[in-house]
Structure formats: C-alpha cells, structure tokens
C-alpha cells in the first residue's frame, strides 16, 4: 500500500509530512520567544527529505536532522529565538507546504481524470 502511495505522490507526500513537522518546530520557537534559556531549533530540510526518501519515517527523519539555530546576536538570558528570523522561516515554510499541497492536488486531479476517462 505504502509503495503504491509513494509511486502516486512521489516526493511530495514525504515533503508534506516533513513540512508539517517543521511547522510545529518553528511554532515552538515562536511560542518560546520569551522563555529564558530556550534554544531555538530547526531542521535542515534537504537532509531530512533525503533521509525520508531512504525509507525513514517522517518523525525519525526530523529528529535526526535537528540542529540548534545560531543566533545573530545572543541575548543575555540565554534565549536564542530571534522573532524576525523565525517568522520569516515560518512564512517560507507555510508557502512551501502550500506548494506541496498544490503538487499533490495536481496528481490527484490527473489520476481522477484518468479514472473517469473523460
């Protein structure tokens, strides 16, 4: 079954799962913008996707690609969240999620057209 789904959606299915996990990560960073000592984390998306393509689950691929963000200017309370950076990346990730979505809906439409034989 999963082989069939993978064939159908290609890399976009995995990309969508990873994007959604990354959304939660970036949301955590934004949520902890005021917590003393919190270290912002993110994933290297391309290496996470490469791991997922080798058959790793999305969660495992994310946890293996986790890294700490290097702040431009560390703050005195040890918090490394820079809201401007996080918000930019959050917005970028949301757009990329939507891109994956439209690729997927294109695949589904193609398949539906083929099935209907219109």
């Amino acid at each position: 079954m999963s082989g069939f789904v993978d064939q159908l959606f290609g890399v976009h299915g995995q990309a969508l799962a990873l994007r959604s996990q990354r959304l939660a990560l970036l949301a955590s960073n934004i949520a902890n913008a005021g917590t003393p000592g919190y270290k912002a984390r993110d994933i290297d998306f391309s290496s996470a996707l490469a791991r997922a393509e080798q058959g790793m689950s999305a969660e495992k691929a994310v946890s293996d690609s986790l890294a700490y963000r290097v702040p431009m200017q560390p703050s005195l309370d040890g918090n490394t969240v820079e809201l401007a950076t996080e918000q930019t990346i959050f917005a970028e990730n949301a757009v990329q999620y939507r891109t994956s979505l439209s690729f997927l809906s294109g695949r589904i439409n193609t398949l539906m057209t083929a099935l209907r034989g219109e």
Partner: protein, 135 residues
C-alpha cells in the same frame, strides 16, 4: 495531551495562555502603581511570571508559567505625616512599580501574543486546505 503528540495548536494555544498571564500581571502592576500603604510589608510590589519550556517530542516545545515572583523595585518610603495611613514616624510606603518597565513588558507580551495568533491562523488555514485536498 492524552498520550498523543502536541500539535501546533497546543503549542501556540498554551503560549497564548502564558502570555495572557504575563499581560494580567502587568495590568495588576500598573493598576497598583502609586498605591500607598502604612508599612513596607503591606505595600504592593510588582509581580512577574517566570516562563518555563515544556518539551514534547524532539524539538517541539511549548511554554508554561513556572511560578510568579515579586520583581521590580522595592516599595519606597516617603515622609508624609498628614497621610491617614502614615505610621508612628509619619512615613508612608509607596508601591514598588516601575511604570515604564511595565508598559514595555505589556507591549512585548502583546506582540508575542499576536505572533502566536498568527501561527495559529496559518496552521489552521493549512490544515483546512489539506482537508480539502482532492475535492
């Protein structure tokens, strides 16, 4: 989270609650600014919540209020013998509130609250779009 993973909605929602506690503390501090008491012990001193990270699975974490502490300047003594609350020495104690710092804190809490609202909105739109996939 009933044994399940925390979603974006949990993360942002709990962060909003934490920011709201901070906003309430600021409101209470500002309301008590300029308040007078008859002794140092009964004089009002600013309160401030301490944030703490609550970690879920790898990298996903939200925030909660660890405790609320007394922060800011100590109540200040002022000689005012005519004041009805004055003690035997004719002193009254003014609430220890740094109004400027409180307003700055209020603005920061409001901004961070808004950021979480934005996160929630984006996550909601994306989830709804995903539900409509293929229709």
């Amino acid at each position: 989270m009933n044994g399940k993973h925390m979603s974006v909605f949990d993360v942002a929602g709990r962060a909003m609650s934490a920011q709201l506690v901070r906003l309430n503390a600021t409101a209470s501090n500002l309301a008590n600014a300029g308040g007078i008491a008859g002794s140092k012990a009964t004089a009002f001193q600013s309160i401030r919540p301490v944030f703490k990270t609550v970690s879920d699975r790898d990298g996903v974490a939200t925030v909660t209020i660890d405790r609320v502490i007394a922060a800011g300047p100590q109540p200040s003594k002022r000689h005012e013998p005519e004041h009805p609350l004055a003690d035997a020495n004719g002193d009254v104690w003014q609430a220890g509130v740094d109004t400027a710092a409180e307003i700055v804190d209020m603005l920061e809490a409001a901004r961070q609250y808004q950021n979480n609202v934005q996160v929630l909105q984006t996550a909601k739109t994306l989830a709804l779009d995903t539900l409509r996939l293929g229709q």
